[in-house]
Symmetry: C2
Subunit: 428 residues, 2 copies
């Protein structure tokens, strides 16, 4: 068998494409079956999978140990990849929590009758076959499998190649759950090899994937958005603002800003930029900065803020376009709602913004003027989270404009279709 | 100025990209303003644009005459491109009908309170900046502009290059309407030149287009789906089935099948394949076929249908995968709901299917078993239309699985965001 350079490329991709064709056909059949499956069967599979995860603790941790040893990874990467009994228990509990959620399928989203007698219903249905591409974080695969199963979607999981042994061990438990509930095992599949050609095949879609959900760092998400030939529901950037209005309750503002920035500085809903009205800044900004500094936060301040607090480091122009994901805060003094809105329109990422204000008119003007997925009044931007929204669990947060924005939970993993009942109507 | 071959390519694309950057920024500002504009202002712009269209009849028809002369086109292409006073009046009336529709913006789609006191509302918002890519059909541009304006979206229109003069003349009238209502003219823009580089720039998106809607033939839609780097809401294929169950009322079945196939054979909701139960076929199929033949329909029949009607032409295997869009019907005899569903799962395009049945259990099994955007019971598949759904007007029909399925009207042109009201909550 002689191979040209081109031939080699083909040979590398062909197994992945062939695999996807087979996996996709099985997944399509599985989602059709799941869509017609009563809630109780889907929940039974979730609960059985949770039990199987717990029962397989030793195997899963051993597989994870092998992944860790092979990857030789350190630091944050190792922390994401590593499993322990606590994390495994949380994974199992997560599946049980998903089982306890109401059924996202079959909801009648709208219903009406036309003058010709036709009766319309819009009904929630699964999206279909979802491709989940994520980094070496085994729990992401388990959560995604649970959410997709509950919402009637089949999922093809492709985690980071360093986590393949862990992913296989977890999938075995989920497969057991599906089997015990007599549901198709093809509802949850994983790419069988670490070869990156499988990512390429999934992004191509091959006519079998309805939606790709990437989850991970920015380079992963951007690659998926750039290369995918199928729709993508993704989280791009969370450059969130907290705006302290002149009417803010000072104590509330201090408490909320400290939480919005420092509770977990690395999450997408963390505040990256503080905007504060000039009328209140001389009195309040020093207190807010002192609170944050005591928590270990650093600052990048523009001139009007430095006029109040000369010791603050000066901000470079790019700082207000930077998603820090770290204990760093950009600080700017503004003259009211209009300037705050203009700054957010120019520098924000339409993710999450908060206003701290006692003045209802100011808050309403702010909330109406932003274009962000989530706008909060007198609450921390860190509430941008599926659990905090009451969605139970989330598969991620969407920053695009279509299908879903903000936390993506079970409801957001559904699509819809129309059922139209007539009595012999023909169209004139 | 010496230009390499590569240089030339760059030079060709650069003006289009530069134009899009400017148009996109203006469009972004316009959608933000529209989102905050009361319904009455948007409606006033629509009504003023309708009046301006009527007032500019002579100019628009002259521009269209010039387009027709320059294109030298004939037949169906010419028919799509050509305007006359009747079509122009329909275009203006269309804008007034859109003005009469309820406001799609600001609807509270969901509302709830969490145990911590946070109050959540999910509110309908514009999608943002929509790119509309369509063939040389001037009325598509006017409809799209009206629907986008009403739903608060800015739209960048790119019709077929042969219709550029007509598109400009129509846009001038819409611009006048925007001006009279003091709304930003950048809400409705058109690509300024016939150069296809503008299509390329729009598909690239340049970070300014939130959604591309292609409307036209399959090659146009497929190009857009293949090349777009931004989300696409598109109509791919309408391979629709009508299934006549054994319990069907024969007279109703004859009436509906004739309408579903022959009312307008070229629309996407036209039935392409007739499935009929073996129990009723010997008595009913000859009558259905005779009705259709009298209307000028041709047939492609599989062996069991030909066993009943030997004169029917034999179907080739590919015929059941063919969207005829013409007076041709594929015909197959099946043994009940399960076989009908299996055929549709294999050959359908998840667009629109109908069952004709008196047996409610059979109808429900059929409607639950299909995965199509629209399922009808005892009604014609040709009802798959925004107007027939009561949506007023539609910008197209979507065949994907996310954001919207079926007719895309004003509601489907919206997205949503969350407004969260608190009283100082921080996240634990």
């Amino acid at each position: 068998m002689d191979q040209s350079a081109d031939g080699k490329r083909e040979m590398a991709a062909a197994p992945a494409l062939a695999w996807l064709a087979g996996a996709g056909a099985a997944a399509r059949a599985a989602t059709r079956l799941l869509a017609a499956t009563p809630l109780e069967a889907r929940n039974a599979a979730l609960r059985a999978a949770a039990l199987a995860l717990r029962a397989a603790e030793a195997e899963i941790l051993a597989a994870n140990e092998a992944d860790l040893a092979a990857s030789g990874s350190q630091g944050a990467f190792r922390d994401r990849l590593a499993l322990d009994p606590t994390r495994l228990a949380a994974m199992a509990a997560g599946l049980e929590e998903i089982a306890a959620q109401p059924d996202p399928l079959g909801r009648v989203l709208a219903e009406w009758r036309r003058p010709n007698g036709l009766h319309f219903r819009r009904i929630a249905t699964p999206i279909g076959v979802i491709g989940m591409i994520y980094e070496s974080r085994p729990n992401v695969g388990a959560d995604a499998a649970g959410l997709c199963l509950k919402s009637g979607n089949a999922v093809i999981l492709r985690g980071g190649s360093e986590s393949l042994r862990s992913a296989r061990a977890i999938q075995a438990a989920i497969t057991q759950g599906l089997r015990e509930a007599s549901l198709p095992e093809a509802a949850v599949q994983i790419a069988p090899e670490a070869d990156r050609a499988y990512v390429g095949a999934m992004l191509e879609g091959g006519g079998v994937i309805d939606l790709i959900i990437p989850r991970g760092g920015r380079s992963l998400v951007e690659r998926v958005q750039r290369e995918a030939r199928v729709p993508v529901l993704a989280h791009a950037e969370g450059l969130c603002h907290t705006y302290v209005h002149a009417s803010a309750d000072p104590a509330m503002a201090r408490r909320i800003v400290a939480n919005a920035k420092m509770r977990r500085p690395g999450v997408c809903g963390a505040t990256e930029t503080l905007l504060i009205d000039a009328a209140i800044a001389p009195a309040l900004l020093p207190l807010i900065i002192a609170d944050l500094a005591a928590l270990g936060c650093a600052f990048r301040a523009e001139p009007r803020a430095r006029a109040i607090l000369p010791d603050l480091p000066a901000a470079a122009p790019a700082d207000f376009d930077t998603e820090w994901l770290a204990p760093v805060l950009s600080v700017k003094v503004v003259d009211g709602v209009a300037e705050a809105l203009a700054h957010i329109a120019r520098h924000g990422s339409a993710h999450t913004e908060a206003i701290i204000a006692e003045d209802r008119a100011a808050a309403e003007a702010f909330l109406a003027g932003i274009d962000s997925a989530v706008g909060l009044w007198n609450a921390s931007t860190q509430f941008c989270d599926g659990g905090e929204f009451g969605f139970g669990a989330e598969i991620g947060i969407a920053t695009g404009q279509i299908h879903a924005r903000g936390p993506v939970g079970l409801e957001q993993l559904t699509s819809f279709r129309y059922i139209v009942e007539g009595s012999g109507q023909i169209r004139p």
